[in-house]
């Protein structure tokens, strides 16, 4: 809570939407705000009434930069919104940064208004920030599937410490009722957001697979890529990060780098001269630059020139010397010209024809120190591409100083 625990000294609280963002339909803004209030009313005795004129307890507005209070907004990104604890004047008011892209969806290039509003209204009711990862009052925005969003127990404990439980105990668990029509136009097959609860570092009823030990001799990988001089190894939602700057292997999750990407990549590769890494999952792919996901993704892999018979790829690796990217699917492989952005003629070719001794399917592929490394199960095959010669076979995790 805030110092002195300010709360509304009544159960009937009013709100008014003063203006709208041009990013969304007004009806969608109304719905997002109403659903956000409903989250809190479902766990407290509070009732929220919308006013269309005059002074309401909670005045909601969109503004950019300086907007008449002591906390100016900062342009796109950074601060998304803020709200004041219960009280007169500014008290309870919620301001949203118009320089952000507001959306009713859960997408990669916009902030979900329902999620942010639910958080800010927590402040309007007297809650401060929580350091419980995955709670609504956690200060950092987390793209989350909002269709059946539920308050975290930490949020419920916090708000009920201020206002107590609802008059009649809710029959259903505290869920934001799904909107009338599906507001989440999440295209079929597209990844839903990793809600914090799904993040493997979160305690969830069905425990996610634990991270395998670095030196587990049976360790296999889904995908491997370089990134700005480092090497990232992916398995499920986990990332092993090997950096020339640090001796130890860093352990992360995909979520910690790209919260809106899903776990379980099929392939990944870096086009170093474009500072771009591409991730593949099923029949889609994403491009990132550092932490930022390029707009317009995901795209269907068929945009790259694969026949429709290809539903997913096994592995990919970019040859920095020839500017060709090799895609491996089953027992075949394609060569993609990054300069012309097109598949090369004469492909697919059989892997066995050009990479003797390398078994398939190939799980992951990497170019490092002039060699190619092809990963198949718990083994990796070091190949000299110029001579098309298999040099040696090692354990897949030999990069982890085992």
């Amino acid at each position: 809570t805030f110092p002195l625990r300010p709360t509304w000294k009544k159960e009937d609280v009013t709100y008014r939407i003063l203006n709208y963002t041009p990013d969304m339909l007004q009806a969608d803004v109304d719905e997002a705000i109403a659903r956000a209030f409903q989250l809190w009313s479902s766990v407290t005795p509070l009732r929220f009434t919308r006013l269309y004129s005059g002074q309401a307890d909670i005045m909601i507005s969109f503004a950019a930069g300086f907007h008449g209070d002591f906390y100016s907004f900062d342009g796109p990104g950074g601060t998304l919104a803020h709200a004041y604890p219960p009280g007169g004047g500014l008290g309870g008011d919620a301001h949203f940064d118009e320089d952000e892209n507001w959306t009713k969806f859960t997408t990669y290039n916009g902030f979900n208004l329902f999620l942010v509003a639910a958080h800010e209204l927590g402040h309007s009711l007297g809650l401060g920030h929580s350091n419980v990862f995955g709670s609504l009052m956690y200060p950092v925005y987390m793209a989350t599937d909002t269709r059946y969003y539920q308050l975290h127990q930490d949020d419920i404990d916090g708000i009920q410490a201020l206002y107590g439980p609802p008059r009649e105990s809710p029959v259903l668990p505290t869920k934001a009722l799904p909107p009338q029509e599906p507001t989440e136009m999440i295209p079929a097959g597209a990844p839903t957001q990793m809600s914090p609860r799904e993040d493997p570092t979160e305690m969830t009823p069905s425990k996610p697979p634990q991270r395998p030990e670095d030196c587990d001799p049976h360790l296999t990988f889904d995908a491997i890529t370089t990134l700005r001089g480092e090497t990232l190894f992916f398995k499920g939602s986990y990332v092993w990060r090997k950096s020339p700057y640090f001796s130890e292997i860093e352990h992360d999750t995909i979520f910690s780098f790209w919260p809106s990407l899903i776990a379980g990549f099929d392939a990944a590769y870096e086009v170093d001269n474009k500072d771009r890494v591409l991730f593949f999952k099923d029949n889609q792919y994403w491009a990132v630059s550092g932490y930022r996901i390029d707009s317009g993704f995901p795209k269907p892999i068929h945009y790259l020139g694969f026949p429709t018979s290809v539903g997913k790829i096994d592995a990919a690796v970019h040859d920095q010397n020839t500017k060709r990217t090799y895609f491996f699917v089953g027992n075949k492989y394609w060569s993609f010209n990054e300069n012309t952005q097109s598949m090369e003629r004469g492909y697919p070719r059989k892997i066995a024809a050009d990479f003797q001794g390398v078994p398939h399917p190939i799980d992951a592929a990497l170019q490092k120190n002039g060699y190619f490394y092809f990963f198949h199960g718990s083994n990796q095959y070091e190949v000299d591409m110029k001579k098309k010669k298999l040099i040696r076979i090692m354990k897949s995790n030999s990069w982890f100083n085992c």
Binding site: H82, P85, D97, P139, Y141
Partner: protein
């Protein structure tokens, strides 16, 4: 991820602003004791790292900077709200 050298100064400025906004950091504008100022900032960095469950080092390592750059709410994380 690797940070180019010239960016480090930028990061320091960014971090100061972040800590002022959310952790009630007040840089002594004309402090005679620069080292005292840096210690004060290191304390605030530790406070922020502790809040987010990061390794508490008091240093602006890449994970701390990454967390500072995440889109977030504009309200402070510590309670000296005024």
């Amino acid at each position: 991820f690797p940070v180019s050298q010239e960016k480090e100064k930028e990061d320091m400025q960014f971090a100061k602003k972040y800590l002022e906004n959310f952790y009630d950091f007040k840089e002594e504008k004309h402090s005679l004791f620069k080292s005292k100022d840096l210690n004060h900032m290191a304390d605030k960095i530790r406070e922020m790292q502790s809040f987010f469950g990061l390794e508490v080092t008091g240093e602006l390592n890449h994970k701390t900077m990454d967390m500072m750059k995440q889109p977030r709410c504009g309200m402070p994380d510590v309670r000296s709200y005024s």
